[in-house]
Subunit: 216 residues, 2 copies
């Protein structure tokens, strides 16, 4: 019985890693589609979001089933509850990748943002991709140093996010209203993507240390 339970907990962790891998592929495709105006890649991301949603819902069902049948306590209980929360955040990360892809699709064959912002969005996109990959590693290893690293990368994204507004509100901004709208939304999606990763990192840290800090 105990062994079945440990096997089920391993399965929960493996599935979280799998969903995180799907999210990492999606954000990579989404940011490429966004930066290079690749509409077929954008459509792939949009289609793949359903897979992420289904995988997250299935993981939730598994976790609730484990709670019902195994009635875990102490750390095991925290693992299962955290899995439910982490899956919700991963699902939202998938949504952010989809939103970024949708912007690329709407504006195709144009690029979403004007030249003056492309460097900034390339940097933000690369950071989101790196964070997503680190998140896979974090969920595999529960190594708290990776959680720390993700937070640092998130600080960089926050700074880039603010710099987008500086540019859009600066005197040299020549964009039309549509450019302003899209840059605002795109920047917000990139930033939220990383926020969710930080939120997951905190949950993993909590599992490792027992310290459950209040919600971000």
């Amino acid at each position: 019985m105990r062994e079945v339970f440990q096997q089920e907990l391993r399965e929960v962790r493996e599935r979280l890693v799998e969903i995180a891998e799907l999210v990492a592929v999606s954000i990579e495709n989404a940011t490429t589609a966004f930066n290079e105006s690749n509409v077929s890649l954008a459509e792939t991301v949009i289609a793949d979001d359903t897979r992420i949603d289904v995988a997250a819902a299935e993981l939730d069902e598994l976790a609730i089933n484990i709670l019902a049948r195994q009635q875990p306590v102490a750390r095991d209980l925290r693992v299962v509850v955290s899995a439910l929360r982490i899956s919700a955040s991963l699902e939202r990360m998938g949504d952010m990748a989809e939103h970024i892809a949708q912007l690329a699709r709407y504006r195709f064959p144009d690029k979403v943002v004007p030249k003056s912002l492309r460097g900034t969005f390339k940097e933000m996109g690369a950071l989101d991709v790196e964070i997503a990959r680190k998140l896979v590693e974090l969920l595999m290893t529960e190594d708290v140093a990776i959680a720390e690293h993700i937070r640092n990368e998130d600080d960089k994204i926050d700074a880039l996010h603010l710099s987008v507004f500086d540019k859009v509100l600066g005197e040299t901004w020549k964009g039309e209203a549509i450019d302003t709208v899209d840059a605002t939304l795109a920047s917000r999606y990139h930033e939220r993507f990383a926020d969710h990763a930080v939120s997951i990192s905190k949950k993993v840290q909590y599992l490792a240390t027992g310290d459950w800090s209040p919600v971000d």
Copy 2:
């Protein structure tokens, strides 16, 4: 023992209602601050968000404790797991109210959006307030008809959200880039607020019917 457990489940439900009430007050204050450029009301909302965060974190601790001590199964288990999810959505609704209040504070003594958009944002704000109040009622009664009502109100908000973009991207738009940025963000916050309410409604419907539809 059984009676203690039922009492604890009641407490979970009561606390959810309390947090929903805090959220309803915050969105009312936030939209008033936003529409009337009331900076002290905006500061109230920003301060109150911490109370919502703490209340949500405390509810989560209670729910996890119940899982550990009472090891609920079947419907009782779903109630506790749903409470965890609902508290996460309520916490985000508080964040959206805070974001709306922050826009009001940044732009004070100016209003956040130019005249041509004020009617639209008043409508969106009123709908968000109504949805928040209905949510309190829904959590009190678990009456599925209210969940239906919230979804219908959310459709109206989605339409208003799109109309903001129509206006901002239309030929008559005279706003500066800062107006475009703020209208985009404000509209998104109003819309997300309602989305979270719909997501909670689905969870309550699921509790009532047992039908857990995949994530939105």
